[in-house]
């Protein structure tokens, strides 16, 4: 894990340019592959470890929910790192409040999508569940947890992922730092003890 940006940018990036087509973080290297781009890494691991969809219906469900949920995360990223103009804080407040106002209907749609299934693909745990967990968890840290708690099905889903063997131990370890979500110069979610405004 990189804790100091200069370690990556000043030292390693040059060497990584030899190894990787698109040097970036995260990157993943094993005996067979050298990959960047988090979805590419996730899918490779999904195929390798039997955590991929097993039929067209599951694959479609996985892709649709991924894109939908990632759109939320990208909106959050966007409002965290606005262009450097004088009124960026004001713009951030506006966007964050708008996002929060739309949150119940977004979470409701995800709840309906999940329905009675245990996992987002359907009956089988797939790699998609790990990233959906991550975004839902980010939402309950960037906004008051009660926003997510209003949807017991989603709370149960998130708990289900947290209880998975291997995942449980990781989340309890020092290696998992739930906060900060964004870097130190972001407009929110940028400190260990960040407190949501809404």
């Amino acid at each position: 894990m990189y804790t100091d940006p200069s370690e990556y940018y000043d030292k390693d990036l040059r060497n990584l340019s030899e190894l990787l087509d698109f040097p970036n973080l995260p990157y993943y290297i094993d005996d067979e592959v050298k990959i960047t781009q988090s979805k590419a890494i996730l899918r490779h691991l999904g195929r390798k470890h039997n955590l991929d969809g097993s039929n067209e219906q599951e694959l479609v469900r996985m892709d649709v929910i991924y894109e939908q949920v990632i759109e939320f995360f990208v909106a959050l990223l966007s409002m965290a790192y606005l262009p450097d103009v004088e009124n960026r804080k004001e713009i951030h407040e506006k966007l964050r409040k708008q996002f929060h106002a739309a949150l119940p209907s977004k979470l409701l749609a995800i709840t309906k999508f999940l329905g009675n299934d245990e996992w987002m693909g359907g009956k089988k745990l797939t790699y998609i569940d790990f990233i959906i967990y991550d975004v839902l968890d980010a939402i309950r840290r960037l906004f008051h947890p009660e926003n997510l708690n209003a949807f017991p099905t989603l709370v149960a889903y998130v708990t289900r992922v947290e209880e998975l063997k291997g995942v449980k131990e990781y989340l309890a370890s020092d290696a998992f730092q739930p906060m900060p979500i964004f870097g130190p110069f972001a407009l929110f979610g940028n400190t260990k003890d960040y407190t949501p405004s809404e």
Binding site: K39, A40, H44, R47, D63, V64, Q68, V85, N87
Partner: protein, 240 residues
């Protein structure tokens, strides 16, 4: 049922879906919601019909009603990437081995990052100084363009297609994003990379694609909607 693809009447997130369907020789309905910009510069007409009527009617039919959406005998879905991948699997235009699969995924995300930024530049937040924000972000992006194109060019290398030896769904997406860049920015940037120029031409020559790109349905310059700060008009001269 005849497969149905529905989107706005612009390139946006539908061009690569239209291209793959035309390449696969699918007889589909290419339904579009039109923009009509009034004197007060507010787009209306089909815009209202989508947001106030049809989108609401689709609740219960689509999990997340949105444009584009696609329906055929087996699926009813949204999200352009999900649709593209479904069509890729359906029409034998997916990666065939692990190497092709992760090459597709890597380049897709690289291209998607570019597509996302272009959207952000085109549609800054609705504040008074949005033109200032647009100019700033457009210029900042233009400075990164040569390096981004260089790494995509290097990734393609001497392959015919992004995955390697086989045409796959990602090539239609790559065409659209790269072509967006040579329309929104000076084509001189992409012309520095002969393999990318040849790659685009190779896609333009594909049977089915060639006819579509030559037709009025393509609308090469209408990349974004009419209210975008760039990419929304037929006549635009790039400034960078």
């Amino acid at each position: 049922m005849k497969p149905l693809l529905v989107y706005w009447d612009v390139r946006g997130r539908a061009t690569y879906l239209r291209m793959i369907l035309h390449y696969a020789g699918v007889d589909f309905e290419d339904k579009r919601y039109k923009f009509e910009v009034t004197e007060s510069q507010k787009a209306y007409s089909d815009y209202k019909k989508w947001f106030q009527e049809d989108k609401i009617k689709l609740q219960g039919i689509l999990d997340f009603p949105n444009l584009p959406y696609y329906m055929d005998d087996t699926v009813r879905m949204t999200q352009s990437r999900a649709i593209l991948e479904h069509l890729g699997r359906k029409h034998h235009l997916d990666g065939r081995n692990e190497q092709e699969l992760f090459r597709i995924d890597m380049i897709y995300d690289v291209l998607a990052d570019i597509g996302f930024i272009l959207g952000e530049i085109a549609y800054p937040p609705p504040v008074e100084n949005r033109q200032e924000i647009h100019d700033k972000t457009r210029k900042a992006y233009a400075e990164t363009l040569p390096a981004q194109l260089a790494s995509i060019s290097k990734f393609l290398g001497s392959n015919d297609w992004m995955a390697g030896n086989h045409l796959t769904y990602v090539d239609f997406y790559a065409y659209d994003i790269l072509d967006d860049n040579r329309k929104l920015f000076d084509p001189k940037h992409i012309n520095q990379f002969p393999n990318l120029v040849a790659y685009l031409r190779r896609i333009e020559e594909l049977k089915g694609v060639k006819e579509f790109l030559a037709s009025p349905a393509f609308q090469p310059m209408l990349i974004m909607g009419p209210l975008a700060l760039f990419g929304g008009s037929e006549t635009r001269v790039p400034t960078e």
